[in-house]
């Protein structure tokens, strides 16, 4: 990019607003050029996202076998601390990320939703393992929820049974990328900045034969039939 002739800007530059131009309006090429001269330009949005993405505190919360691999990811060999996510908080009030690591049973599902509701925004959810995604090997079970995305929104899915710790780290890096790309204003602003999107989700009740409701239609509906 530095080889590009300086006379041709990388992108047509919109007219600067009143006062300071927004950092987002300076082209990447210009910022790169400035950076090489020792001037760091950033925007509040980038700084904010950079800080958040590098200190994601997960909720200390294991459900089943996958939780053991989650613990393994926190130990010396895989060392999730390299990505700033080693502080597992036992309290949902202090956590940014819920790693649903394992089978969510119908008996456990209302509690998972309650934990999610107790977490403050901005919050993210990783479905770790086949069970959390779709019920996995246990999907025929009468007491198994067929995917946590039927009740709460999920940001990252990590397949595997169990996913290796490296896969969890990759999922975390993907989440960091997502956070870094989040907008704070405008029509495609991130979920936590928008007042019209819910932060809490209805908690299903224990029914006589199943959970009531068994799924949250606002979050999940069955896919359309392939032929229709």
């Amino acid at each position: 990019m530095s080889d590009a002739p300086q006379s041709t800007p990388a992108s047509p530059r919109p007219a600067p607003a009143e006062g300071f131009p927004a950092a987002g309006n300076i082209s990447d090429a210009d910022r790169e050029e400035l950076r090489r001269h020792g001037i760091l330009l950033t925007s509040l949005e980038e700084l904010y996202n950079w800080g958040r993405s590098n200190s994601i505190w997960p909720l200390q919360f294991g459900l089943a076998c996958c939780a053991i691999e989650m613990i393994a990811a926190a130990t010396a060999r895989f060392d999730i601390a390299r990505f700033g996510a080693e502080i597992f908080r036992p309290s949902p009030r202090q956590a940014d990320l819920m790693i649903v690591s394992g089978t969510v049973t119908k008996k456990m599902a209302p509690l998972v939703v309650r934990l999610w509701n107790q977490m403050p925004e901005p919050k993210y959810c990783i479905a770790m393992g086949a069970c959390a995604i779709s019920g996995g090997p246990f999907k025929q079970g009468y007491n198994v929820l067929k995917g946590i995305d039927r009740l709460i929104p999920v940001d990252i899915y990590i397949p595997g049974c169990p996913p290796r710790p490296e896969a969890l780290l990759n999922g975390l890096i993907q989440l960091q990328k997502q956070i870094k790309g989040e907008k704070l204003t405008g029509p495609d602003a991130a979920r936590h900045t928008r007042a019209d999107l819910p932060s809490e989700y209805p908690i299903p009740a224990y029914g006589a034969h199943d959970l009531e409701p068994a799924k949250n239609p606002a979050v999940w509906t069955p896919p359309a039939p392939p032929s229709a």
Binding site: K107, S134, G135, K139, Q140, Y142, N143, K146, G147, Y206, G207, A208, H209, D210, E212, P213, A214, K215, P217, T221, P222, P223, A224, P225, A228
Partner: protein
């Protein structure tokens, strides 16, 4: 240790009022078992635990088995001489009778002090609907505590004399007994990469319901369904129908 046959005879002599049957295990393992009279079950269990030659102080495994009603077809073959003088015909008469089902609790007993076992005992309920009470053996072996609660939960056998008979695994509001053979699971939409057969049929119902904007069949009717915005088809599920005069 004495054989199961000897033990059966000894029990029959000690408890003349009780019916003790030997259940032969035709498999390779040949672990035969004793079916005890449910009414005297606890007395016999106490005897088994305290008898100096047996000392079955350790009840390892307790489990339920569901035996649903079984239709048994009896075929009676009779040879009828042909009136025309031909060779006699064989006529098969089929009659169907229903063998009533029951629930069964199976206990595997060992002795830790004498290091022998297992002695397998079984108790049967009268049927699968209303006569489902068996004596609890938790006062004899504390290890039956959780396992009998589990059987109560999953099979629906009521253990009389159990100190704390509640559901163990499912929630208290749950009504069914899922380990019974005739239990029908709630219909959740299930994703499969190559769905076929019954799974496909069930999946289609959910998908079509989603397109139509009505609450899909797996959804409980307890929460009122909402028509999707812009949907022209009115929701046609139970609560709406009930609202009609």
């Amino acid at each position: 240790m004495e054989t199961v046959q000897q033990l059966r005879d000894r029990l029959a002599a000690r408890f003349p009022a009780a019916r003790v049957e030997l259940v032969l295990n035709p498999g390779v393992a040949a672990e035969h078992s004793l079916r005890l009279d449910a009414a005297l079950g606890r007395d016999i269990a106490l005897f088994l635990r305290d008898d100096p030659a047996l000392r079955l102080d350790y009840c390892s495994n307790v489990t339920g088995v569901d035996w649903p009603d079984k239709e048994i077809t009896d075929v009676v073959k009779t040879t009828v001489p042909d009136p025309a003088g031909g060779p006699p015909k064989i006529v098969e008469e089929k009659s169907v009778h229903v063998q009533p089902g029951c629930l069964e609790a199976v206990y595997h007993l060992y002795s830790m002090s004498l290091k022998h076992g297992p002695v397998v005992i079984r108790l049967r309920t009268g049927n699968r609907a209303d006569a489902v009470t068996l004596p609890s053996l938790t006062p004899v072996w504390r290890s039956c505590d959780f396992q009998e609660r589990e059987i109560f939960d999953l099979f629906g056998i009521v253990f009389a004399g159990h100190p704390d008979l509640r559901r163990l695994l499912m929630w208290d509001e749950f009504k069914d007994h899922p380990m019974r053979k005739d239990y029908v699971e709630p219909d959740d939409y299930e994703w499969e990469p190559t769905a076929h057969g019954a799974v496909l049929e069930r999946a289609k119902a959910h998908q079509l319901a989603a397109v139509a904007g009505v609450v899909d069949p797996g959804q409980s009717s307890a929460n009122p369904p909402k028509a999707a915005p812009g949907s022209t088809t009115p929701a046609t599920t139970a609560p709406v129908k009930e609202a009609k005069p």
